[in-house]
């Protein structure tokens, strides 16, 4: 069904509006493609690439890093919300015309994987004002080197909700996998989990998509790969540090 993305260089191509001739589009590295039905990569538009360029650049100040990552997160949330169910709704507009629209169905909540995932809460709140937000703290166990669940605080009725799971960087996917397992244990059906992510590694996202075929991943960019320390390359450094403390 799906092909694993190859490691190796990322594709570079001209980016810009479709109708523009190729010669008028500047070249940039775009996301790798994956063919999993449950992985959705944001359209690689010049404006998205420019935002990503800002947050990857080590010279970008913390204030700008926060501003530009929030803008990408809003785009991610907007795309993620499109996967939630809607029902048809017919209304009469202020000028007396009828409009066949839709109504949002189902309750949602956000769950952030601490600490970097919490940086995505602002963007989520910009789109969903009073959304409930649970938290999960996962740390690497010093003895076993495996990710371990240290803390969680989730809405009590989480089993009845759609969950937007937030984590900006997805390298090996250890924490995200544990977070999803925690959610499933609490009774959240796999298909009601949406994982929102800024930058993913090709191998990590592939394993994750295969392990949880009903869960949906929305990411803005699938990067080139992982280095020997399991950091995403080219990546953007430590997201939490750059957002909170650098």
């Amino acid at each position: 069904m799906a092909s694993k993305p190859e490691s190796g260089p990322s594709p570079a191509q001209g980016v810009g509006p479709l109708y523009r001739p190729d010669g008028e589009k500047p070249t940039a590295t775009v996301s790798k493609e994956v063919s999993y039905d449950n992985v959705h990569v944001l359209p690689q538009t010049p404006q998205l690439i420019a935002l990503l360029t800002m947050i990857r650049d080590k010279r970008t100040s913390r204030a700008d890093f926060i501003f530009y990552s929030n803008r990408i997160i809003r785009l991610l949330v907007e795309e993620g919300l499109n996967h939630l169910p809607v029902v048809e709704q017919s209304i009469t507009t202020p000028v007396g015309r009828s409009y066949l629209g839709v109504k949002f169905e189902g309750k949602i909540c956000g769950v952030s994987i601490m600490r970097a995932g919490e940086a995505m809460e602002q963007g989520l709140r910009d789109c969903c004002r009073s959304v409930r937000i649970g938290k999960i703290l996962i740390q690497r166990d010093e003895e076993s080197c495996m990710p371990k669940l240290f803390y969680d605080k989730l809405p009590s009725d989480i089993a009845d909700r759609w969950v937007l799971l937030l984590d900006p960087m997805f390298a090996t996917g250890g924490s995200a996998t544990l977070a999803v397992e925690t959610l499933i244990e609490r009774g959240v059906p796999e298909h009601r989990i949406l994982f929102l992510n800024l930058i993913a590694s090709p191998s990590g996202v592939a394993e994750f998509a295969e392990r949880f075929p009903k869960l949906r991943v929305v990411t803005s960019f699938i990067d080139q790969g992982l280095d020997e320390k399991k950091y995403i390359i080219p990546g953007l450094g430590d997201f939490g540090d750059r957002y909170y403390s650098m």
Partner: protein, 452 residues
Amino acid sequence: MESVSPLYSLSTEVRYSPPWQDLSIIGIAGSSGSGKSSVAMEIVKSLNLPWVVILVMDSFYKTLTAEQHQKAHANEYDFDCPESIDFDILVDTLRDLKKGKRANIPVYSFAEHQRQPNTTTLYSPRVIILEGILALHDPRIVEMLDVKIFVEADMDVCLGRRILRDVRERGRDIEGIIKQWFEFVKPSYTRYVEPQRPISDIIIPRGIENTTAIDMVVKHIQRKLQEKSDNHTEELRKLGLVAAEVELPLNVHVLPSTPQFVGMNTILQNPETEQEDFIFYFDRLVSILIEKALDMTLYVSANVETPQGNTYLGLHPKGTVSAVAILRGGSCMETALKRSIPDCLTGRVLIQTNESNEEPELHYLKLPSQIEEHATVLLIDSQMSSGGAALMAVRVLIDYGVEQQRIVFVTCAAGERGLKRLTAVYPRINVIVGRIEEEGEPRWIEKRYFGC
């Protein structure tokens, strides 16, 4: 003009002429002190319209040499002969205005007898009243005039008025004034001013006191203005017919009807939605439009280094992105605009649709300086129906030197006919549309957003 890519050009050339392209010029000549400027001001006052302006010929005095300057101080320089006026520049200015272009009016300092480095910009008047002793002198100007008026008064009255004015307003001494009067002003009257009388259409004796004559002129201008606006409305209608034939071009981007987008549009159009929710969802929806619009600006490839020392070939935006809001609707979108560009340079243009004939009218204009150098100008309006206001606003930007392909018109909802009309006239602009609405939709979004 730029060549137009065949991808989105029309076989027939479609043009839009704003109402100010068909400018009327009224010339008022007459002796110094005859009451020309009072008559001109009375006409403007009676019309009470923002697009009627007075152009004083004094602004076009030539700069004096040092020698002439000294003469002027000794009241020995002739300011009343045609040679003292720079008719060439005046003719060029009037021709530009007649074409609907922007014109820079020189600023003349009487103290220094010099043209100042700064100029006043004159743009989009529909009627100009050109006032000066020799307004009907140059045949090139006479040819452009719609109405030629000659104001007359008894020469004694003229001298009396001139003395009062020059002493009070220009701080001159009476001897000098009288010397100048007999040496230059009076001879010039006989030689240049009076001969304009027979070619005038209307002679107004007793100047400002002659209310019957002024009333007549006002009525004439009102008739002219009515004709102009009828023509403009008719032209807009015809443009709509031409444009209805074609497909929406590729540079009109209608946002895809994703579930969230349709859901937000449903909330926004539902009259039961609370004001607070309306504002929230409107801002959220416009944020998406603005991010989309930023795809249209200029980007250049750029290598950046990440904190771990890896390089990434990405993009950097090139040049300034500014915005121009078509008031009042466009100002609803500024909150969302500033979410993406917090310090966005923003101009404003107030275009109101006249309720009696549905004609768009330009009332106010304030653009960022050097707008012609900006990489992208986002022209924002919450809603567009027939496209009259958008057509006019794009025309204004072009007249201010913004190239068509740098303009991105962003609107939440638009009628298809209006979109076709806009892009038929300006095929190289980009358009971002949230939703295609039914034809003839009245403007309601701004009322809902502002609550009044």
